[in-house]
């Protein structure tokens, strides 16, 4: 005969087998959170580098106008959209575009002569950030081109003074090459240094999604205990010598196992494919995840203990998860909340789990840092309270004391 310990393990093993053989639950627990993280990253994550479109009307049509649009397009993050004058005017009038670069008819001629070129950037209102960025790039490129033109003219004048007759095209080409080389290998560069882990957009959404879906999946699978009442398997278990504490321990272990599979799967993908975690931060996140999942498994037990029908359990699980998720900062950062909202957000599992996951991923904090230790202590407390509450509320049989 076995002692306490082997039966909870056998129960947990059964729960995990059922989990891995249920395609719907696998999709809901593993694939759906991944899809949502990717969708949210695509929709709201923005890009690590900005992206703007410069709308250009070329009334000049000359080689220097083409050179200007070429250089503009070569700027990382800038796309050039060449428009005809009528269309551009209409779009600007209708506010469909907010910036318009108009290269004047005498642009190439004046630039070649070393004169201020004929170019305007028209902005709708203040042109938004996009218009201001385009304006700034255009101004910079035109100034650069004018400088090249002036240098070429100066060099030619100096050669002429020295009695050397060199064709103007040859001088311009040579000067152009020199400037092109400088642009390719600039003499001065500004080094970009990222503090902490790279702020990939996916890193901002992953913790919230993981906490939401571990809570959601475990809450919903807690329905399975209630479902067992309906199917008759719980009554069958009641005729064995299984105790209430063993049943709850086994259910808790099963929930814990499922949650851990989710955490390892989702953060594992983040580590292997999304460049969000280092090996060290991955190890920290899994250790923190163990505490977080132990906590949420305790919450799942309470839902299982208080529900009498699968429908009731489903409603409690969905309602409870939505409230916890919204207040706990899975969709937006709630750490700045004060007053009543500050208290409410700190009463959720999600707040503490999100805080820890984010600190490890985004700030690169160690597991032993005081804020993360605090998160883990609170989460462990939530888990223990859930377990104790479930034990007090759940009745396996009429003779349970």
């Amino acid at each position: 005969m076995s002692t306490f310990g082997s039966r909870p393990l056998a129960l947990a093993g059964k729960e995990l087998k059922v989990f891995f053989r249920d395609p719907q639950m696998l999709f809901f627990s593993l694939a759906l959170p991944l899809v949502l993280v990717l969708l949210m990253t695509a929709a709201f994550g923005g890009q690590s580098r900005f992206s703007v479109t410069a709308r250009v009307v070329d009334l000049d049509g000359g080689p220097l106008a083409a050179e200007l649009t070429g250089r503009l397009e070569a700027v990382p993050g800038v796309t050039v959209d060449l428009l005809d004058p009528e269309t551009a005017e209409r779009l600007l009038e209708d506010s469909d575009i907010v910036n318009l670069v108009v290269i004047g008819e005498e642009f190439s001629e004046r630039l070649a002569a070393g004169q201020a070129p004929d170019i305007r950037v028209r902005l709708r209102g203040n042109g938004d950030t996009e218009g201001q960025i385009v304006n700034s790039y255009v101004e910079s490129i035109v100034r650069e081109m004018l400088g090249e033109s002036l240098v070429a003219r100066q060099v030619q004048a100096m050669l002429a003074e020295a009695g050397l007759e060199v064709p103007v095209e040859e001088v311009e080409a040579r000067v152009g090459e020199l400037f092109a080389e400088t642009r390719e290998s600039p003499l001065v560069t500004v080094a970009e240094e990222t503090v902490g882990v790279r702020p990939e957009p996916i890193a901002q959404f992953l913790p919230g999604m993981v906490t939401m879906f571990t809570l959601f999946a475990i809450s919903l699978t807690s329905v399975s205990l209630v479902e067992e009442r309906r199917k008759g398997t719980l009554e069958r278990l009641m005729t064995t010598t299984l105790t209430r504490a063993e049943l709850l321990s086994g259910t808790w272990l099963g929930n814990f196992g499922r949650g851990l599979v989710q955490v390892v799967f989702l953060f594992g993908l983040a580590w292997l494919f999304f460049n969000v975690l280092t090996l060290s931060s991955f190890a920290s996140i899994i250790l923190f995840g163990v505490v977080a999942v132990a906590s949420v498994a305790g919450i799942g037990l309470v839902i299982a203990a208080v529900s009498r029908t699968p429908e009731q359990a489903n409603w409690i699980a969905v309602f409870f998860t939505m409230i916890m998720t919204s207040l706990g900062g899975s969709f937006f950062d709630t750490s700045g909340f004060t007053g009543v909202m500050g208290v409410l957000t700190r009463m959720t599992y999600n707040f503490w789990a999100n805080d820890g996951f984010r600190r490890i991923i985004l700030e690169g904090e160690a597991l032993t840092s005081p804020p993360i230790v605090k998160d883990m202590v609170v989460l462990a407390g939530i888990g223990l309270a859930g377990w104790a509450l479930a034990l007090a509320l759940f009745r396996l049989r009429g003779d349970d004391k």
Partner: protein, 246 residues
């Protein structure tokens, strides 16, 4: 096993009203009755899953009221529902419930294989129960209830909705268990089953036992036992009024 003046009242409605009988070691005892007669409620109280309002059941010298844990070691229950995990294989189901009875994994696997052999499903041990026919599920349901080698086995309508082949196999299994000395409490709606299998039969109606005797004596109570069927006895005792539950 002795049932002493067993009563169950649900919200003022008496479902079982002073039922008493004894079951001798090694016999198959039939519990018959129309829908709502109180059979399942009686079995649930006897098998420790439902608290009784008054009275007691003594199994193997242990009171269900006082020492339910001891009673659970002696009983096996095959419920009316297919109380199995359909996502798991037949073997996994048996091993799991064996572990819940406190068996070691090795012992649970050994008994599971033996029980599947007994119900004719050894070849399908690794197949998911969800893919089984109704009759096969019923046989797995029965095999699970034997995992703890019970002294007293409760069989609640074990042949509902099964094909004749599976039904015959279940009969053979039950008779084999009786021959090995197991005591069986059997409920069914099929009178010919009760006639074939049961040594004694109690007929319940409205929460009471209205007759208790061997099938032959019950038939003799209303006519020639070779001419009268058990169904005639049943209808004579319980009437022809429909007993729809709802």
């Amino acid at each position: 096993m002795e049932v002493r003046d067993l009563r169950k009242v649900f919200n003022g409605t008496t479902a079982v009203d002073g039922v008493s009988f004894t079951i001798n070691r090694g016999e198959i005892f039939g519990l018959l009755g129309p829908n709502g007669a109180g059979k399942t409620t009686t079995i649930r109280m006897m098998s420790t899953t439902l608290p009784m309002t008054s009275g007691d059941v003594v199994i193997g010298g242990h009171s269900v009221r006082e020492r339910p844990g001891e009673v659970r070691r002696l009983i096996g229950v095959c419920p009316q529902e297919i109380a199995l995990y359909l996502e798991l294989s037949a073997l996994d189901n048996l091993v799991f419930f064996g572990r819940m009875e406190g068996l070691s994994k090795a012992e649970a696997v050994r008994r599971a294989r033996a029980n599947l052999e007994l119900v004719g499903l050894a070849e399908r041990a690794r197949h998911r129960v969800a893919k089984f026919s109704g009759g096969m599920k019923r046989r797995v349901n029965l095999a699970v209830s034997l995992m703890n080698r019970p002294e007293l086995l409760f069989l609640d309508e074990p042949t509902v909705g099964v094909d004749p082949q599976s039904r015959n196999h279940i009969f053979d299994t039950i008779e084999g268990l009786r021959d090995e000395g197991m005591t069986i409490l059997y409920t069914t709606h099929y009178m010919e089953e009760a006639d074939r299998l049961c040594d004694r039969i109690a007929i319940m109606d409205n929460g009471r036992v209205v007759a208790l005797d061997s099938p032959r004596n019950l038939k003799a109570s209303i006519g020639d036992p070779d001419e009268v069927t058990l169904e005639d006895v049943f209808l004579n005792l319980t009437g022809r009024r429909l007993r729809d539950q709802g």
